[in-house]
């Protein structure tokens, strides 16, 4: 008994199928980058579905070759140019609120990650209970190359990956395929894309909000893909040794020591990537993921909101604007970072990003109140 309640032009398509709701991100030309309107719409839909006793399951997917390539950062930069940094802050406030809602959602969210899933796309999926990767999945948190830092609650979900793999993904923006996502826990299942329609149909027919039942339904379509031989996930040893070091400088020199001991293309690529990233981004990202490891998802988002406000204000570094210029607008891929070197950024400077914004009427992120009853255990564990 399917019925369509949205038009072709909506940025979020909604399908109602018995006890399931399928939400499709529908901006394929922009790789489904989240616009401010999309975020508002998703917030609206998620809240309504949570209250609707007829809904047991929310499926989120993307139209075209991406699940979601991130927040629409180009639009944010445009808004800031027109309306000041607060315009940017408002965008992130809404996005992080959505992330929190998803993280503390009392119903099951299944995200079908059949394509690119980056930045804000991860924020819209990783906090949900089930993440289905496919052979088309392509994961990254590439913010340090953009003069930003992994936000959308990444300091929560990346820091909880095995060993120091989270630090690695967070600092280098390394890309993962579906098999790797499953191996490290970013994905909960791996399903061949050909089987997705059948999976969707099965989920829609499920009539259950039981974690175990839904998991076993997805399991029926899942497989255990093998990691490619060159997979970075086979290098956890080196990653743990190097990325557990205290500072970004220490991490770099640990990598350089490893490079001395053996010739390894991966190590030198990693070093190069780190050297190309914004030094300020690297330092605040490392501090953020380490703080996030010890915090619940709410405090993580509150902290990240402080950080993003400082980045938008650009009082210490304008790397975010430079990064967007070089990568998204001019596309010369040659950002000029300022400060240009790691050693020019002191701990005290990094501290600033974690402090309250000293601005009249600025406030910390206010998370929406959540019902203290009926939250599933996996949500309670994140608080």
């Amino acid at each position: 008994m399917a019925s369509s309640v949205s038009s072709q032009h909506d940025e979020v398509l909604v399908e109602e199928k018995s006890f399931a709701r399928i939400l499709t991100l529908n901006r394929p030309k922009q790789l489904n980058a989240l616009s401010s309107q999309m975020i508002s719409r998703l917030l609206e839909l998620f809240l309504a579905n949570e209250d609707d006793p007829n809904v047991k399951l929310v499926i989120l997917k993307g139209k075209g070759r991406a699940f979601c390539a991130g927040g629409d950062v180009a639009a944010v930069v445009h808004d800031i140019r027109a309306g000041g940094w607060r315009a940017g802050a408002n965008f992130f406030m809404k996005e992080f609120t959505l992330n929190y809602l998803m993280a503390t959602y009392s119903k099951l969210q299944v995200s079908i990650l059949n394509g690119i899933v980056m930045g804000g796309g991860n924020g819209a999926s990783m906090h949900g209970r089930f993440r289905v990767a496919t052979e088309n999945s392509l994961f990254a948190m590439p913010e340090t190359a953009l003069g930003l830092f992994p936000d959308v609650g990444a300091s929560y979900f990346l820091s909880r990956l095995p060993g120091f793999f989270g630090e690695y993904l967070c600092l280098t923006g390394a890309r993962l395929d579906g098999a790797e996502m499953l191996a490290c826990g970013l994905a909960t299942h791996f399903v061949q894309s050909a089987k997705l329609p059948a999976l969707e149909a099965a989920l829609c027919a499920a009539d259950s909000s039981d974690t175990v039942i839904i998991s076993s339904i997805i399991g029926q379509y899942s497989e255990q893909p093998s990691l490619k031989e060159q997979s970075v996930y086979n290098r956890l040893d080196v990653i743990d040794r190097c990325f557990s070091q205290k500072t970004v400088e220490d991490i770099l020199s640990a990598l350089e020591n490893e490079a001395v001991n053996r010739r390894d293309g991966w190590i030198s690529t990693t070093i190069q990537t780190l050297k190309k990233a914004s030094p300020t981004s690297l330092k605040i990202s490392l501090r953020s993921i380490r703080a996030g490891r010890l915090q619940g998802v709410g405090p993580c988002l509150i902290r990240e909101y402080r950080m993003v406000c400082h980045v938008m204000r650009g009082e210490f570094s304008k790397d975010f604007f430079e990064g967007c210029r070089a990568i998204l607008l001019d596309k010369d891929k040659n950002p000029k970072w300022e400060p240009s070197k790691l050693e020019l950024i002191t701990d005290t400077t990094v501290d600033i990003y974690f402090s309250k914004v000293k601005n009249e009427d600025w406030e910390d992120l206010k998370l929406p109140a959540r019902s203290k009853f009926n939250l599933p255990p996996y949500v309670i564990a994140k608080l």
Binding site: D240, S244, R290, L294, L375, A381, L383
Partner: protein, 673 residues
């Protein structure tokens, strides 16, 4: 009528629920749902700011180390109720626990955690080291003791008793664990009385070697941490006998195992065996059978022996020489005091979080059961202890600063303050953990819930590095000396916070009002009054015994009761002072307001001590007023309880399942079927 109705209901329920189809209803009962305290309790103050104030320093370093522990399989992570908890597997055999402790140390070594601990210098390095010990101690007592023996005792002895060639030869190798050190001081026959040890060292000028000997069974080295399994080297304390003269206790370095772990010739080592706690530390016993070590192995900062066998010392007085030898123990004492504060923080965080989620009994039929922490009696049990640990945190931070800023002039202060704080804080830790254990009911008995187990792990703190009772007597003796010095030279009291003795005796109003009781000046007066009166009384008692012809030692022994009360009065007052000073650094606001209440609760809790009534410092009426005010403060602090324990900055992983979703942690689905 109500009662009868309820009984019928209960019976009906029993009958209905006996059919399996109906059992599902049980889960829908409100009382059985775990409701996370985060969602119902609000923080009225900035928890991060409070944490910075509590930890005092190196917050980022602490968090990195917490992360290193949580992310490694070596630290035995287990998922319970959807959360990861780290804690050693105490169900392992003693041998396995020891090996795990060692593997964890190797892991931290590889990650550069100990970088600069021996070779670095300065206050920052020392403070950072303290911070790391606090974090590691939150994981497990064994790892912190095993590291403490190696770095503070073995390494500290080389730093403090050794001279440049010792530093050059040993410190770097100690820092990177090329050598594994231990510290052989205590013997079977002598613990606190170090001057009585029986191990003897002589010098052989023909070979230029010292010869160490265990002359009798009571001289075997005992409780030597690291000796049973891992240590390759030790500091040996012995009576140095040169040309037939006993020059007193001195320290030398001796190798006890080769690099492959084989025990060296002329050394015998035995295990101390299984203990009530700390089984991850390999405590051993050592016998020396004419063990020869080169002359350079004498740690010679205080005294030396020339190649031809002459004893040389810059400190002529043997008492002072001995005191100089004991100075590295101060660092250990500081560590123990600080560590005990953090153990209490674990206990209180767990017990209070549990009390915010566990319910028992309804006030009226059909009403939800009451949260444990909403019972005034439960508040009265836990919240004064919470206030106490806030005060002791400030005390511990002060003690650390005092230690790292040490000068030759501050040695006496450090000795007195560290002794009294160590005794007070470790005793109170045992009291707090016991109360927390009981407050968690049966759950407190499960090892995975930590509270009960921590008692056994930390019991040793009351006696090692100085028996608490003896330390308190030493504090009183030091105060006695201050008193006599001031009186004899007709000078004012200066130092140890005794300046209040120069002022007129404070007066306690006969009718204590709520306002007075919460005034920090009154609280300080009341604590100073007790210290002053007890010091006067102690001096009078000792003098009376002396006048009767008793020796000074005997006079002190006979006055033990006042001596211990005085030691306690001294440390309560000194700790209170550090609280007031910390509070004074804050700008007014919600943080300061809450801390003000905590401070009052701590002070009034001290005033409830038996000594106030025993010696009549408070009237019975005032005693009642104090008690009533404590109850009021508990009610007022109840809404801040979650914020106050969250400010301890202990990551969830270092607490325990009952501190979080204990229903899910114990659900059937979590059982390994």
């Amino acid at each position: 009528m109500d009662r009868a109705f309820q009984r019928t209901r209960i019976l009906t329920n029993h009958l209905l629920l006996s059919t399996p189809a109906q059992t599902a209803c049980l889960t829908s009962n409100d009382c059985f749902n775990y409701s996370p305290p985060e969602l119902s309790e609000n923080y009225a103050f900035d928890v991060n700011e409070m944490r910075k104030l509590m930890d005092g320093h190196d917050v980022e370093e602490r968090d990195r180390l917490f992360g290193l522990i949580i992310q490694s399989r070596l630290f035995n992570p287990r998922v319970r109720g959807g959360k990861v908890f780290v804690s050693p597997d105490y169900n392992q055999s003693m041998e396995q626990q020891r090996e795990m402790t060692w593997k964890r140390i190797e892991y931290l070594l590889e990650r550069g955690v100990f970088k600069g601990w021996m070779t670095g210098e300065g206050e920052d390095v020392e403070m950072k080291r303290f911070a790391c010990f606090e974090v590691l101690g939150l994981f497990d007592h064994s790892i912190s003791i095993k590291l403490g023996v190696h770095f503070f005792l073995w390494g500290g002895a080389i730093q403090f008793f050794g001279t440049k060639h010792h530093h050059d030869k040993w410190l770097r190798d100690t820092e990177n664990y090329k050598v594994k050190g231990c510290f052989s001081m205590t013997e079977l026959g002598h613990g606190s009385n170090v001057r009585g040890i029986e191990t003897v060292t002589t010098y052989d000028s023909k070979t230029g070697e010292f010869v160490i000997n265990t002359p009798c069974e009571s001289a075997q080295k005992y409780w030597i941490g690291g000796a049973a399994k891992h240590a390759t080297h030790t500091i040996v304390f012995s009576q140095l006998n040169i040309n037939g003269n006993n020059e007193g206790v001195h320290a030398l370095i001796a190798q006890i195992r080769d690099a492959d772990g084989n025990v060296c010739p002329n050394i015998r080592i035995a295990d101390c065996g299984h203990k009530i706690g700390l089984n991850g530390v390999d405590n051993g016993r050592i016998w020396f059978d004419n063990v020869r070590v080169p002359r350079e192995n004498l740690l010679n900062s205080v005294a030396d022996v020339s190649p031809d066998g002459k004893y040389l010392s810059s400190i002529k007085d043997p008492d002072q020489r001995f005191a100089a030898f004991l100075s590295p123990l101060t660092a250990g004492r500081v560590n123990i005091a600080v560590n005990a504060v953090y153990q209490s923080k674990v206990g209180l965080s767990i017990a209070i979080r549990y009390a915010l989620t566990r319910r028992a009994f309804s006030l009226k039929p059909n009403e939800p059961e009451v949260l444990l922490l909403d019972y005034p009696s439960h508040q009265r049990r836990l919240l004064p202890l919470l206030a106490k640990i806030y005060a002791m945190s400030f005390g511990a931070n002060y003690l650390k600063m005092l230690y790292v800023k040490r000068t030759p002039q501050s040695n006496k202060t450090i000795h007195v303050v560290s002794s009294s704080f160590k005794a007070t804080i470790t005793w109170s830790n045992m009291q707090i953990l016991q109360e927390c254990r009981e407050a968690c009911g049966g759950q407190g008995l499960k090892t995975e819930n930590r509270v009960g187990h921590l008692k056994a792990e930390h019991d040793v703190q009351s006696t090692f590095e100085g028996d608490n009772n003896i330390l308190m007597q030493q504090v009183s003796k030091a105060l006695f000396a201050e008193y006599m010095a001031a009186q004899k030279r007709n000078k004012v009291f200066k130092g140890l916070g005794l300046e209040h003795m120069n002022k007129p005796c404070p007066v306690i109003p006969s009718q204590l009002t709520s306002t007075t009781l919460r005034c920090s000046q009154f609280q300080m007066d009341a604590l100073c009054l007790r210290e002053r009166e007890l010091l006067n009384r102690f001096v009078a008692d000792v003098s009376q015994y002396l006048a009767k012809g008793e020796s000074k030692e005997q006079a002190f022994n006979m006055s033990y009761q006042v001596a211990e009360d005085l030691g306690k009065a001294f440390s309560d007052r000194a700790i209170f002072q550090t609280f007031v000073e910390a509070e004074a650094t804050l700008a007014s606001g919600s943080l300061k307001d809450v801390l003000g209440m905590v401070r009052s609760l701590y002070a009034l809790n001290c005033l409830e001590d038996i000594t106030y009534l025993r010696y009549g410092f408070l009237s019975v009426d005032n005693g009642v007023a104090v008690s009533r005010e404590i109850t009021k403060l508990c009610t007022e602090l109840r809404p801040h309880a979650l914020g106050l324990v969250s400010s301890f900055g202990i990551p969830d992983s270092f607490l325990s399942p009952i501190a979080f979703n204990w229903v899910d942690a114990n659900s059937w689905s979590s059982v390994q079927h």
